[in-house]
Symmetry: C2
Subunit: 221 residues, 2 copies
Amino acid sequence: MGVERAAAGTSAGRKQQQRSILTQQKLLDAAIAAFSTNGFMGTSTRDIAERARVHHPLITYHFKNKGELWRAAANRIFREFNISLVKAMAEVPEIDPKARAEAFIRTYVKHSFGHPALHKIILQESSYPSDRLDWLVATHLKPLYAMVSGHLVKLQELGIAPPGNPALLYNMIRVSAGGLLALGLEVKGTSNINFDDQAQRDELAEMIIRTFLPGNLPAQH
Amino acid sequence: MGVERAAAGTSAGRKQQQRSILTQQKLLDAAIAAFSTNGFMGTSTRDIAERARVHHPLITYHFKNKGELWRAAANRIFREFNISLVKAMAEVPEIDPKARAEAFIRTYVKHSFGHPALHKIILQESSYPSDRLDWLVATHLKPLYAMVSGHLVKLQELGIAPPGNPALLYNMIRVSAGGLLALGLEVKGTSNINFDDQAQRDELAEMIIRTFLPGNLPAQH
DNA sequence: CGTATTTAGTCCAGATTGGAAGGATTAGGC
DNA sequence: GCCTAATCCTTCCAATCTGGACTAAATACG
Protein backbone atom coordinates (compact mmCIF):
# COMPACT_ATOMS: atom_id res chain seq x y z
CA MET A 1 0.00 0.00 0.00
CA GLY A 2 0.99 3.55 0.47
CA VAL A 3 2.85 5.38 -2.22
CA GLU A 4 3.79 3.15 -5.08
CA ARG A 5 6.29 4.04 -7.68
CA ALA A 6 4.61 3.71 -11.02
CA ALA A 7 7.75 3.44 -13.09
CA ALA A 8 8.73 0.28 -14.86
CA GLY A 9 8.22 -2.81 -12.74
CA THR A 10 11.69 -3.30 -11.39
CA SER A 11 10.80 -5.30 -8.33
CA ALA A 12 13.96 -7.36 -8.33
CA GLY A 13 16.48 -4.50 -8.37
CA ARG A 14 17.61 -2.26 -5.56
CA LYS A 15 15.46 -0.74 -2.90
CA GLN A 16 13.90 2.70 -3.12
CA GLN A 17 16.20 5.55 -2.27
CA GLN A 18 15.57 7.92 0.56
CA ARG A 19 15.41 11.03 -1.60
CA SER A 20 12.88 9.28 -3.76
CA ILE A 21 10.34 8.83 -1.01
CA LEU A 22 11.07 12.37 0.07
CA THR A 23 10.15 13.87 -3.26
CA GLN A 24 7.13 11.65 -3.41
CA GLN A 25 6.03 13.05 -0.08
CA LYS A 26 6.65 16.58 -1.24
CA LEU A 27 4.69 15.94 -4.39
CA LEU A 28 1.83 14.42 -2.47
CA ASP A 29 1.68 17.33 -0.05
CA ALA A 30 1.69 19.77 -2.90
CA ALA A 31 -0.87 17.78 -4.84
CA ILE A 32 -3.23 17.66 -1.90
CA ALA A 33 -2.96 21.38 -1.41
CA ALA A 34 -3.43 22.18 -5.06
CA PHE A 35 -6.19 19.73 -5.84
CA SER A 36 -8.20 20.70 -2.81
CA THR A 37 -8.22 24.36 -3.65
CA ASN A 38 -8.42 24.26 -7.41
CA GLY A 39 -9.90 20.87 -8.20
CA PHE A 40 -8.49 18.30 -10.53
CA MET A 41 -9.09 20.13 -13.76
CA GLY A 42 -8.09 23.46 -12.31
CA THR A 43 -4.71 22.17 -11.24
CA SER A 44 -1.77 21.73 -13.54
CA THR A 45 1.04 19.33 -12.93
CA ARG A 46 3.38 22.27 -13.22
CA ASP A 47 1.61 24.03 -10.39
CA ILE A 48 2.00 20.98 -8.21
CA ALA A 49 5.66 20.61 -9.06
CA GLU A 50 6.25 24.25 -8.31
CA ARG A 51 4.62 24.00 -4.91
CA ALA A 52 6.72 20.94 -4.20
CA ARG A 53 9.85 22.69 -5.46
CA VAL A 54 10.49 19.83 -7.76
CA HIS A 55 10.91 19.56 -11.49
CA HIS A 56 7.62 18.77 -13.07
CA PRO A 57 8.62 15.75 -15.15
CA LEU A 58 9.25 13.98 -11.87
CA ILE A 59 5.51 13.61 -11.55
CA THR A 60 5.53 11.38 -14.55
CA TYR A 61 8.42 9.45 -13.16
CA HIS A 62 6.97 8.85 -9.72
CA PHE A 63 3.26 8.69 -10.42
CA LYS A 64 2.93 7.87 -14.08
CA ASN A 65 0.44 10.68 -14.73
CA LYS A 66 -1.77 13.34 -13.21
CA GLY A 67 -4.66 10.99 -12.54
CA GLU A 68 -2.55 8.53 -10.60
CA LEU A 69 -1.10 11.34 -8.57
CA TRP A 70 -4.59 12.47 -7.66
CA ARG A 71 -5.52 9.01 -6.56
CA ALA A 72 -2.41 8.65 -4.47
CA ALA A 73 -3.22 11.99 -2.85
CA ALA A 74 -6.77 10.92 -2.07
CA ASN A 75 -5.53 7.66 -0.64
CA ARG A 76 -3.21 9.45 1.70
CA ILE A 77 -5.92 11.81 2.88
CA PHE A 78 -8.26 9.00 3.78
CA ARG A 79 -5.63 6.76 5.20
CA GLU A 80 -4.59 9.45 7.65
CA PHE A 81 -8.18 10.12 8.54
CA ASN A 82 -8.84 6.47 9.24
CA ILE A 83 -5.81 6.27 11.46
CA SER A 84 -7.00 9.27 13.47
CA LEU A 85 -10.40 7.70 13.79
CA VAL A 86 -9.26 4.28 14.88
CA LYS A 87 -6.90 5.74 17.42
CA ALA A 88 -9.57 7.98 18.92
CA MET A 89 -12.20 5.30 19.07
CA ALA A 90 -9.87 2.91 20.83
CA GLU A 91 -9.86 5.21 23.83
CA VAL A 92 -13.60 5.14 24.38
CA PRO A 93 -15.47 2.31 26.13
CA GLU A 94 -17.26 0.03 23.71
CA ILE A 95 -20.46 -0.04 25.71
CA ASP A 96 -21.31 3.66 25.78
CA PRO A 97 -22.79 4.56 22.38
CA LYS A 98 -23.25 8.22 23.14
CA ALA A 99 -19.70 8.66 24.33
CA ARG A 100 -18.49 6.91 21.22
CA ALA A 101 -20.56 9.13 18.98
CA GLU A 102 -19.25 12.21 20.74
CA ALA A 103 -15.70 11.02 20.36
CA PHE A 104 -16.35 10.37 16.71
CA ILE A 105 -17.63 13.88 16.14
CA ARG A 106 -14.81 15.50 18.08
CA THR A 107 -12.27 13.53 16.15
CA TYR A 108 -13.98 14.32 12.91
CA VAL A 109 -14.00 18.04 13.58
CA LYS A 110 -10.49 18.11 14.93
CA HIS A 111 -9.06 16.12 12.08
CA SER A 112 -10.95 18.19 9.56
CA PHE A 113 -9.25 21.33 10.72
CA GLY A 114 -5.85 19.76 10.65
CA HIS A 115 -6.49 18.30 7.23
CA PRO A 116 -8.98 20.47 5.38
CA ALA A 117 -8.31 18.62 2.18
CA LEU A 118 -10.45 15.76 3.42
CA HIS A 119 -13.57 17.74 2.67
CA LYS A 120 -12.34 20.05 0.02
CA ILE A 121 -11.39 17.24 -2.28
CA ILE A 122 -14.82 15.70 -1.94
CA LEU A 123 -16.51 19.00 -2.60
CA GLN A 124 -14.34 19.69 -5.60
CA GLU A 125 -15.08 16.35 -7.16
CA SER A 126 -18.76 16.40 -6.36
CA SER A 127 -19.43 19.36 -8.56
CA TYR A 128 -19.61 17.28 -11.72
CA PRO A 129 -19.70 13.61 -12.59
CA SER A 130 -16.36 11.94 -13.13
CA ASP A 131 -14.56 8.66 -12.82
CA ARG A 132 -12.67 10.14 -9.93
CA LEU A 133 -15.85 10.76 -7.98
CA ASP A 134 -17.05 7.24 -8.65
CA TRP A 135 -13.76 5.88 -7.46
CA LEU A 136 -13.80 8.10 -4.38
CA VAL A 137 -17.28 6.98 -3.43
CA ALA A 138 -16.61 3.30 -3.99
CA THR A 139 -13.20 3.24 -2.36
CA HIS A 140 -13.52 5.54 0.61
CA LEU A 141 -16.89 7.20 1.12
CA LYS A 142 -19.20 4.24 0.94
CA PRO A 143 -17.14 2.09 3.31
CA LEU A 144 -17.04 4.92 5.81
CA TYR A 145 -20.77 5.34 5.73
CA ALA A 146 -21.28 1.62 5.99
CA MET A 147 -19.18 1.61 9.13
CA VAL A 148 -21.08 4.44 10.79
CA SER A 149 -24.59 3.76 9.59
CA GLY A 150 -25.47 0.97 12.01
CA HIS A 151 -24.31 2.92 15.05
CA LEU A 152 -26.29 5.92 13.96
CA VAL A 153 -29.50 3.93 13.72
CA LYS A 154 -28.88 2.57 17.17
CA LEU A 155 -28.45 6.10 18.51
CA GLN A 156 -31.76 7.03 16.97
CA GLU A 157 -33.46 4.03 18.53
CA LEU A 158 -32.08 5.03 21.90
CA GLY A 159 -33.53 8.49 21.45
CA ILE A 160 -30.11 10.11 21.50
CA ALA A 161 -30.08 11.25 17.89
CA PRO A 162 -33.11 12.82 16.24
CA PRO A 163 -35.31 10.49 14.19
CA GLY A 164 -35.51 10.41 10.41
CA ASN A 165 -33.56 9.03 7.52
CA PRO A 166 -30.16 8.11 8.96
CA ALA A 167 -28.41 8.80 5.70
CA LEU A 168 -29.67 12.36 5.80
CA LEU A 169 -28.64 12.72 9.40
CA TYR A 170 -25.19 11.37 8.69
CA ASN A 171 -24.65 13.82 5.90
CA MET A 172 -25.96 16.75 7.88
CA ILE A 173 -23.44 16.01 10.60
CA ARG A 174 -20.73 15.59 8.06
CA VAL A 175 -21.30 18.88 6.30
CA SER A 176 -21.80 20.74 9.55
CA ALA A 177 -18.22 19.92 10.30
CA GLY A 178 -16.60 19.74 6.91
CA GLY A 179 -18.78 22.09 4.95
CA LEU A 180 -18.28 24.86 7.44
CA LEU A 181 -14.61 24.33 7.18
CA ALA A 182 -14.72 24.48 3.41
CA LEU A 183 -16.52 27.77 3.72
CA GLY A 184 -13.91 28.98 6.18
CA LEU A 185 -12.94 32.10 4.30
CA GLU A 186 -16.51 33.08 3.68
CA VAL A 187 -17.66 32.43 7.23
CA LYS A 188 -14.82 34.53 8.47
CA GLY A 189 -15.92 37.40 6.28
CA THR A 190 -19.61 37.11 6.93
CA SER A 191 -19.74 36.68 10.68
CA ASN A 192 -17.30 36.98 13.52
CA ILE A 193 -16.12 33.42 13.41
CA ASN A 194 -12.51 32.54 12.86
CA PHE A 195 -11.58 28.92 12.79
CA ASP A 196 -7.93 29.71 13.28
CA ASP A 197 -8.96 30.06 16.89
CA GLN A 198 -8.82 26.72 18.64
CA ALA A 199 -11.60 27.70 21.03
CA GLN A 200 -13.98 28.31 18.19
CA ARG A 201 -13.18 24.92 16.74
CA ASP A 202 -13.98 23.26 20.02
CA GLU A 203 -17.15 25.27 20.22
CA LEU A 204 -18.21 23.98 16.84
CA ALA A 205 -17.65 20.39 17.93
CA GLU A 206 -19.68 20.88 21.07
CA MET A 207 -22.40 22.60 19.13
CA ILE A 208 -22.66 19.74 16.69
CA ILE A 209 -22.87 17.29 19.56
CA ARG A 210 -25.48 19.36 21.33
CA THR A 211 -27.57 19.67 18.19
CA PHE A 212 -27.31 16.23 16.72
CA LEU A 213 -27.10 14.19 19.91
CA PRO A 214 -29.52 16.03 22.17
CA GLY A 215 -30.89 12.95 23.97
CA ASN A 216 -29.41 11.18 26.96
CA LEU A 217 -28.72 7.56 27.53
CA PRO A 218 -31.74 5.88 29.16
CA ALA A 219 -31.09 5.04 32.80
CA GLN A 220 -29.52 1.65 33.33
CA HIS A 221 -30.65 -0.77 35.97
CA MET B 1 -29.94 47.30 -11.05
CA GLY B 2 -30.36 44.08 -12.90
CA VAL B 3 -28.41 43.43 -16.01
CA GLU B 4 -26.60 46.44 -17.26
CA ARG B 5 -25.03 46.72 -20.63
CA ALA B 6 -21.43 47.54 -20.15
CA ALA B 7 -20.76 48.87 -23.62
CA ALA B 8 -20.02 52.50 -24.31
CA GLY B 9 -22.22 54.81 -22.31
CA THR B 10 -24.90 55.59 -24.84
CA SER B 11 -27.61 56.54 -22.44
CA ALA B 12 -29.15 59.13 -24.74
CA GLY B 13 -29.64 56.85 -27.76
CA ARG B 14 -32.29 54.27 -28.41
CA LYS B 15 -33.66 51.82 -25.96
CA GLN B 16 -32.34 48.29 -25.56
CA GLN B 17 -33.59 45.86 -28.13
CA GLN B 18 -35.52 42.71 -27.30
CA ARG B 19 -32.99 40.33 -28.77
CA SER B 20 -30.33 42.04 -26.73
CA ILE B 21 -31.92 41.25 -23.42
CA LEU B 22 -32.61 37.76 -24.68
CA THR B 23 -28.98 37.01 -25.38
CA GLN B 24 -28.04 38.57 -22.08
CA GLN B 25 -30.41 36.18 -20.37
CA LYS B 26 -29.00 33.25 -22.26
CA LEU B 27 -25.49 34.29 -21.36
CA LEU B 28 -26.39 34.71 -17.72
CA ASP B 29 -28.05 31.31 -17.54
CA ALA B 30 -25.05 29.70 -19.15
CA ALA B 31 -22.65 31.62 -16.96
CA ILE B 32 -24.43 30.56 -13.79
CA ALA B 33 -24.36 26.93 -14.86
CA ALA B 34 -20.73 27.03 -15.87
CA PHE B 35 -19.36 29.05 -12.97
CA SER B 36 -21.19 26.97 -10.41
CA THR B 37 -19.80 23.71 -11.63
CA ASN B 38 -16.31 24.73 -12.67
CA GLY B 39 -15.62 27.86 -10.69
CA PHE B 40 -14.47 31.17 -12.07
CA MET B 41 -11.01 30.14 -13.09
CA GLY B 42 -12.13 26.79 -14.39
CA THR B 43 -14.64 28.36 -16.74
CA SER B 44 -13.75 29.89 -20.06
CA THR B 45 -15.79 32.53 -21.78
CA ARG B 46 -15.93 30.24 -24.76
CA ASP B 47 -17.52 27.53 -22.68
CA ILE B 48 -20.15 29.95 -21.50
CA ALA B 49 -20.85 31.21 -24.99
CA GLU B 50 -21.14 27.66 -26.24
CA ARG B 51 -23.67 26.75 -23.57
CA ALA B 52 -25.61 29.86 -24.43
CA ARG B 53 -25.36 29.09 -28.15
CA VAL B 54 -23.99 32.51 -28.75
CA HIS B 55 -20.78 33.76 -30.24
CA HIS B 56 -18.24 34.34 -27.55
CA PRO B 57 -17.26 37.91 -28.37
CA LEU B 58 -20.78 38.88 -27.41
CA ILE B 59 -19.70 38.47 -23.84
CA THR B 60 -17.31 41.32 -24.29
CA TYR B 61 -20.03 43.34 -25.90
CA HIS B 62 -22.71 42.80 -23.29
CA PHE B 63 -20.68 42.43 -20.13
CA LYS B 64 -17.35 44.06 -20.83
CA ASN B 65 -15.37 41.06 -19.57
CA LYS B 66 -15.45 37.76 -17.76
CA GLY B 67 -15.36 39.29 -14.31
CA GLU B 68 -18.31 41.54 -14.91
CA LEU B 69 -20.25 38.62 -16.28
CA TRP B 70 -19.55 36.68 -13.13
CA ARG B 71 -20.78 39.54 -11.01
CA ALA B 72 -23.93 39.91 -13.04
CA ALA B 73 -24.53 36.19 -12.65
CA ALA B 74 -24.05 36.37 -8.89
CA ASN B 75 -26.37 39.32 -8.68
CA ARG B 76 -29.11 37.46 -10.46
CA ILE B 77 -28.72 34.42 -8.25
CA PHE B 78 -29.12 36.44 -5.09
CA ARG B 79 -31.82 38.69 -6.43
CA GLU B 80 -33.96 35.69 -7.24
CA PHE B 81 -33.29 34.19 -3.87
CA ASN B 82 -34.30 37.35 -2.09
CA ILE B 83 -37.51 37.50 -4.05
CA SER B 84 -38.34 33.92 -3.08
CA LEU B 85 -37.60 34.72 0.50
CA VAL B 86 -39.62 37.89 0.74
CA LYS B 87 -42.57 36.26 -0.93
CA ALA B 88 -42.53 33.29 1.40
CA MET B 89 -42.13 35.35 4.54
CA ALA B 90 -45.04 37.56 3.62
CA GLU B 91 -47.38 34.61 4.04
CA VAL B 92 -46.42 33.87 7.62
CA PRO B 93 -47.81 35.76 10.64
CA GLU B 94 -45.31 38.24 12.03
CA ILE B 95 -45.89 37.24 15.60
CA ASP B 96 -45.00 33.57 15.45
CA PRO B 97 -41.22 33.32 15.41
CA LYS B 98 -41.06 29.56 15.14
CA ALA B 99 -43.44 29.44 12.20
CA ARG B 100 -41.39 32.12 10.53
CA ALA B 101 -38.19 30.24 11.08
CA GLU B 102 -39.73 27.08 9.70
CA ALA B 103 -40.96 28.93 6.66
CA PHE B 104 -37.52 30.38 6.19
CA ILE B 105 -35.90 26.97 6.26
CA ARG B 106 -38.44 25.42 3.94
CA THR B 107 -38.01 28.24 1.49
CA TYR B 108 -34.28 28.03 1.77
CA VAL B 109 -34.22 24.32 1.04
CA LYS B 110 -36.78 24.52 -1.70
CA HIS B 111 -35.10 27.41 -3.43
CA SER B 112 -31.71 25.74 -3.09
CA PHE B 113 -32.87 22.76 -5.05
CA GLY B 114 -34.39 24.85 -7.75
CA HIS B 115 -31.31 27.03 -7.95
CA PRO B 116 -28.31 24.99 -6.88
CA ALA B 117 -25.99 27.69 -8.08
CA LEU B 118 -26.77 29.71 -4.99
CA HIS B 119 -24.55 27.47 -2.91
CA LYS B 120 -22.24 26.14 -5.51
CA ILE B 121 -21.00 29.58 -6.42
CA ILE B 122 -20.26 30.36 -2.81
CA LEU B 123 -18.46 27.09 -2.33
CA GLN B 124 -16.45 27.57 -5.47
CA GLU B 125 -15.30 31.00 -4.47
CA SER B 126 -14.60 30.13 -0.86
CA SER B 127 -11.83 27.76 -1.76
CA TYR B 128 -9.26 30.50 -2.13
CA PRO B 129 -9.08 34.22 -1.38
CA SER B 130 -10.15 36.50 -4.16
CA ASP B 131 -11.69 39.86 -4.85
CA ARG B 132 -14.79 38.05 -5.98
CA LEU B 133 -15.21 36.41 -2.61
CA ASP B 134 -14.74 39.72 -0.84
CA TRP B 135 -17.33 41.28 -3.07
CA LEU B 136 -19.72 38.39 -2.57
CA VAL B 137 -19.44 38.60 1.17
CA ALA B 138 -19.83 42.35 1.34
CA THR B 139 -22.64 42.59 -1.17
CA HIS B 140 -24.80 39.59 -0.49
CA LEU B 141 -23.69 37.30 2.29
CA LYS B 142 -23.15 39.74 5.08
CA PRO B 143 -26.46 41.55 4.57
CA LEU B 144 -28.30 38.24 4.59
CA TYR B 145 -26.72 37.21 7.83
CA ALA B 146 -27.40 40.59 9.35
CA MET B 147 -31.06 40.16 8.49
CA VAL B 148 -31.36 36.71 10.04
CA SER B 149 -29.03 37.05 12.98
CA GLY B 150 -31.40 38.91 15.31
CA HIS B 151 -34.24 36.49 14.78
CA LEU B 152 -31.98 33.57 15.44
CA VAL B 153 -30.87 34.94 18.78
CA LYS B 154 -34.48 35.45 19.72
CA LEU B 155 -35.25 31.85 18.87
CA GLN B 156 -32.43 30.76 21.12
CA GLU B 157 -33.72 32.92 23.95
CA LEU B 158 -37.12 31.34 23.56
CA GLY B 159 -35.55 27.90 23.82
CA ILE B 160 -36.62 26.97 20.32
CA ALA B 161 -33.17 26.84 18.80
CA PRO B 162 -30.23 25.22 20.58
CA PRO B 163 -27.94 27.58 22.52
CA GLY B 164 -24.46 28.60 21.45
CA ASN B 165 -22.81 30.99 19.09
CA PRO B 166 -25.58 32.10 16.72
CA ALA B 167 -23.18 32.59 13.86
CA LEU B 168 -22.16 28.96 14.11
CA LEU B 169 -25.76 27.88 14.28
CA TYR B 170 -26.67 29.95 11.27
CA ASN B 171 -23.93 28.42 9.22
CA MET B 172 -24.70 24.91 10.33
CA ILE B 173 -28.25 25.34 9.12
CA ARG B 174 -27.06 26.88 5.93
CA VAL B 175 -24.68 24.11 5.01
CA SER B 176 -27.11 21.41 6.06
CA ALA B 177 -29.30 22.62 3.27
CA GLY B 178 -26.86 23.94 0.72
CA GLY B 179 -23.84 21.83 1.45
CA LEU B 180 -25.81 18.64 1.11
CA LEU B 181 -27.08 19.87 -2.16
CA ALA B 182 -23.58 20.67 -3.36
CA LEU B 183 -22.60 17.15 -2.48
CA GLY B 184 -25.61 15.81 -4.32
CA LEU B 185 -23.73 13.51 -6.63
CA GLU B 186 -21.64 12.11 -3.86
CA VAL B 187 -24.53 11.62 -1.46
CA LYS B 188 -26.38 9.78 -4.16
CA GLY B 189 -23.46 7.44 -4.65
CA THR B 190 -22.69 6.90 -1.00
CA SER B 191 -26.11 6.34 0.47
CA ASN B 192 -29.58 5.75 -0.86
CA ILE B 193 -30.54 9.39 -1.06
CA ASN B 194 -31.58 10.99 -4.29
CA PHE B 195 -32.49 14.62 -4.22
CA ASP B 196 -34.19 14.38 -7.56
CA ASP B 197 -37.02 12.94 -5.52
CA GLN B 198 -39.26 15.68 -4.19
CA ALA B 199 -40.22 13.64 -1.15
CA GLN B 200 -36.59 13.38 -0.08
CA ARG B 201 -36.17 17.11 -0.42
CA ASP B 202 -39.15 17.69 1.83
CA GLU B 203 -37.76 15.17 4.25
CA LEU B 204 -34.52 17.10 4.41
CA ALA B 205 -36.35 20.31 5.19
CA GLU B 206 -38.34 18.68 7.95
CA MET B 207 -35.24 17.06 9.31
CA ILE B 208 -33.43 20.37 9.49
CA ILE B 209 -36.39 21.92 11.26
CA ARG B 210 -36.62 19.03 13.68
CA THR B 211 -32.94 19.17 14.43
CA PHE B 212 -32.30 22.89 14.61
CA LEU B 213 -35.63 24.04 16.02
CA PRO B 214 -36.43 21.29 18.48
CA GLY B 215 -38.08 23.49 21.12
CA ASN B 216 -41.67 24.69 21.23
CA LEU B 217 -43.08 28.12 21.73
CA PRO B 218 -43.69 28.77 25.42
CA ALA B 219 -47.39 28.87 26.24
CA GLN B 220 -48.93 32.31 25.94
CA HIS B 221 -51.20 33.87 28.54
C1' DC C 1 33.49 1.24 -7.82
C1' DG C 2 29.84 0.01 -10.86
C1' DT C 3 25.18 0.22 -11.73
C1' DA C 4 20.36 1.01 -11.02
C1' DT C 5 17.73 4.79 -9.47
C1' DT C 6 16.66 9.40 -9.41
C1' DT C 7 16.88 13.95 -11.17
C1' DA C 8 17.74 17.95 -14.38
C1' DG C 9 17.08 20.00 -18.57
C1' DT C 10 14.78 20.44 -23.12
C1' DC C 11 11.46 20.01 -26.17
C1' DC C 12 7.01 19.49 -28.32
C1' DA C 13 2.67 19.62 -30.63
C1' DG C 14 -1.51 21.07 -29.52
C1' DA C 15 -5.09 23.32 -27.17
C1' DT C 16 -6.99 27.23 -24.85
C1' DT C 17 -7.02 31.58 -23.13
C1' DG C 18 -9.35 36.54 -23.02
C1' DG C 19 -9.92 39.94 -25.94
C1' DA C 20 -9.59 43.23 -30.30
C1' DA C 21 -11.16 44.70 -34.83
C1' DG C 22 -14.20 45.36 -38.61
C1' DG C 23 -17.84 44.27 -41.54
C1' DA C 24 -22.69 42.44 -41.90
C1' DT C 25 -27.25 42.49 -40.21
C1' DT C 26 -31.16 43.74 -37.75
C1' DA C 27 -34.60 46.39 -35.43
C1' DG C 28 -36.47 50.67 -33.69
C1' DG C 29 -37.75 55.50 -34.44
C1' DC C 30 -39.37 58.69 -37.60
C1' DG D 1 -40.37 52.64 -45.89
C1' DC D 2 -36.13 54.57 -44.91
C1' DC D 3 -32.10 55.65 -41.87
C1' DT D 4 -29.18 54.84 -38.26
C1' DA D 5 -27.85 53.13 -33.97
C1' DA D 6 -27.74 48.72 -31.76
C1' DT D 7 -26.55 44.17 -32.11
C1' DC D 8 -24.36 40.43 -33.95
C1' DC D 9 -21.03 37.49 -36.71
C1' DT D 10 -16.47 36.30 -38.32
C1' DT D 11 -11.86 36.25 -38.08
C1' DC D 12 -7.67 36.89 -36.00
C1' DC D 13 -4.05 37.11 -32.51
C1' DA D 14 -0.43 36.74 -29.30
C1' DA D 15 0.36 34.74 -25.20
C1' DT D 16 0.25 31.16 -22.28
C1' DC D 17 -0.35 26.75 -20.64
C1' DT D 18 -1.27 21.92 -21.21
C1' DG D 19 0.40 16.83 -20.14
C1' DG D 20 3.87 14.21 -21.32
C1' DA D 21 8.28 12.25 -23.99
C1' DC D 22 13.08 12.00 -24.21
C1' DT D 23 18.03 12.18 -23.07
C1' DA D 24 21.91 13.05 -20.38
C1' DA D 25 23.73 14.11 -15.95
C1' DA D 26 23.94 13.14 -11.08
C1' DT D 27 23.48 10.50 -7.10
C1' DA D 28 23.10 6.78 -3.78
C1' DC D 29 23.10 2.06 -2.87
C1' DG D 30 25.32 -2.62 -2.73
